[in-house]
């Protein structure tokens, strides 16, 4: 029973943020973009549950909408990374060893382009950054990790007897990849998805903070921190709310990933 703790805590935290994101589509207590200088920097109250920011905008409403952006960028980026990285990894894992190694070398080139750098590059080439450039950049930079995980896992699947049986009965490569390799590596890929989501959300926050991702007119947690930084001297508590939400989300995905890894790897269960 003790072993399932990270999984449960992670799922609860992630679920909470998902609910916030969904709720934001139907309801926010106030207009998240409504600027009213007369009510700037208010402490939490009944009308403004988490207070107001430097522009008099309701922080809670902005957190709700921010959850949406954060999940959107995270999920889309990881989808891009998995859809491109996993096939590369499977291809390399099913090839002969030295061919596979060569394929992986090419995939490793993407390691030279961390999410932040690639996003800045795309933003510069494009004139300005956008939610789209952030998604693409974070997605591409997560390709090599997916490829690596899929490569190692498929190589070990390929050495199993049932694959040898399938090959000797004349089943084609694509069918083996689809029917035998993919289903068997799915658990490992799932673990990678979870930790990649955590990393993607960290990157998204950094990009919005710098203003090279989602544009400042859209509420994002990273940009809320940027706006709050102007008030560190007089209202340092302003950074607390977005900070806590970023940490909760990433922690949730990290725990979920750890929990899944433990649940899938019986060897880890005995340890610690």
């Amino acid at each position: 029973m003790r072993r399932s703790h990270p999984l449960v805590v992670g799922a609860v935290l992630v679920g909470l943020i998902c609910i916030l994101a969904v709720v934001s589509f139907f309801w926010t207590p106030h207009d998240p973009g409504l600027v009213d200088a007369s009510i700037a920097l208010q402490p939490p109250s009944r009308t403004y549950p988490l207070g107001t920011d430097g522009f008099g905008q309701d922080i809670f409403s902005r957190i709700l909408v921010g959850a949406r952006i954060c999940m959107l960028v995270g999920v889309m980026a990881v989808t891009i990374g998995a859809l491109l990285g996993v096939p590369i990894g499977i291809l390399a894992g099913m090839s002969r060893r030295h061919v596979g190694r060569r394929i992986m070398r090419w995939a490793d080139i993407f390691y030279a382009f961390p999410a932040l750098l690639l996003a800045i590059l795309l933003a510069a080439a494009n004139g300005t950054g956008s939610t789209m450039t952030a998604m693409i950049a974070i997605g591409i930079s997560s390709i090599p990790a997916f490829a690596r995980v899929a490569n190692t896992a498929s190589r070990s699947v390929m050495s199993r007897d049932f694959v040898a049986a399938a090959r000797s009965s004349g089943i084609g490569w694509t069918a083996i990849a689809w029917r035998h390799v993919l289903p068997n590596i799915l658990p490992v890929v799932l673990v990678q998805v979870s930790s990649a989501l955590g990393r993607a959300i960290l990157a998204e926050a950094a990009l919005s903070y710098l203003g090279v991702g989602t544009q400042p007119t859209t509420p994002t947690w990273g940009r809320m921190l940027y706006d709050a930084q102007k008030f560190v001297y007089d209202h340092p508590a302003q950074i607390a709310v977005p900070a806590v939400f970023i940490a909760i989300t990433v922690l949730g995905f990290n725990l979920l990933g750890d929990g899944l890894r433990e649940a899938l790897d019986p060897r880890l269960r005995q340890e610690a």
Binding site: I109, A125, A206, L210, G211, I239, L251
Partner: protein, 322 residues
């Protein structure tokens, strides 16, 4: 001899990666839909000045020719000039590079110094309360972006306690004490997050070592715990620590982009953001290339260290090369 061959192969593949990466950087800036000159001048510029800038930057010449010229410039240390001021890029980014290099290396150093003893301690005490608490704290620290740790440290140590400056920079040569005072918070911001990740690796590496037969044998034949850990544990755990720390050093150079902007350090990252906001594409292109090169070089060095340190990998090399 064979080790030298392996190193030569690594260096060759580094050169290849650098070439491909430089092409990607160049292509993303120059070949994406949208005219470079129009992007630099912004949406409200008139066609005449766009044409003039195209002329001045030589943008009407073939893409491949411009790439080769740029590459040649990079190799000879003249990566072009700013589209705004016309100043040579080398003179713009030279002084900034030092700031970023200090920030990144000091952060990593502090990260390793924090992580190795803490990781070892939490491995030994993994079933006690304090070991579990350390594990929990690393989980939380990993869930926080560098810049957020930076903001919190700023609020505590600069705004509330007023022990350290909240932002700015003094060069080492003009006032070493002020230099250190300005770097403490940014370095700590990066080091805390990176150390958290490293602690987890150190911890699991040491747990593996503590369960190994050779470690039990060492204890059984009378080695005391601490010398046994140092003699048998550190060497085996060091492999993993070096790999992870090296990869982190690479990611940390990039992480410094954000932290420099939090603490207004005049480093490469701040310059990069300024150039992006000014749409100074030649400067963006050069700085991105520097970061990419740093990441690739560090990864290669880590690979080489790994080969030199791990007798198993060494043996494998000899198998494949013979």
């Amino acid at each position: 001899m064979r080790a030298l061959g392996a190193i030569a192969r690594q260096l060759l593949s580094l050169a290849g990666s650098l070439l491909i990466a430089s092409f990607i950087v160049f292509a993303l800036i120059n070949a994406l839909p949208g005219d470079v000159a129009a992007t630099i001048l912004g949406p409200n510029s008139d066609p005449a000045s766009i044409a003039a800038l195209r002329e001045r930057m030589g943008l009407d010449r073939p893409l491949l020719l411009r790439y080769v010229e740029w590459l040649g410039g990079l190799l000879t240390g003249q990566p072009g000039s700013s589209a705004l001021s016309g100043a040579p890029i080398g003179s713009i980014i030279g002084p900034k590079l030092a700031v970023t290099a200090w920030l990144a290396t000091l952060s990593m150093l502090m990260g390793v110094v924090l992580a190795v003893p803490t990781g070892l301690y939490s491995a030994v005490r993994r079933k006690r309360a304090d070991g579990v608490i350390i594990s929990g704290l690393t989980q939380v620290a990993m869930a926080v972006p560098h810049f957020l740790v930076g903001l919190v440290l700023m609020i505590v140590f600069a705004v509330t306690l007023r022990w350290l400056p909240a932002n700015g920079y003094t060069p080492l040569t003009s006032n070493p004490l002020q230099w250190l005072r300005h770097l403490v918070l940014p370095v700590a911001a990066i080091a805390v997050v990176e150390a958290a990740m490293l602690i987890r690796y150190v911890r699991s590496a040491f747990i593996d070592v503590l369960n190994e037969d050779y470690f039990r044998t060492a204890r059984a034949v009378g080695w005391r715990f601490v010398p046994a850990v140092i003699r048998h544990g550190l060497r085996n755990a060091s492999l993993e620590v070096i790999t992870v720390a090296g990869l982190q050093l690479a990611s940390l150079f990039v992480g410094s982009i954000v932290v420099e902007n939090v603490f207004l350090l005049p480093g490469l990252g701040s310059q990069l953001l300024t150039a992006v906001n000014q749409r100074d594409l030649p400067v963006v292109q050069a700085i991105v290339m520097i970061f990419v090169a740093i990441v690739l070089v560090i990864n290669t060095v880590v690979d080489i260290c790994y080969h030199l340190l791990d007798p198993r990998v060494r043996a494998q090399d000899e198998e494949t090369s013979s």
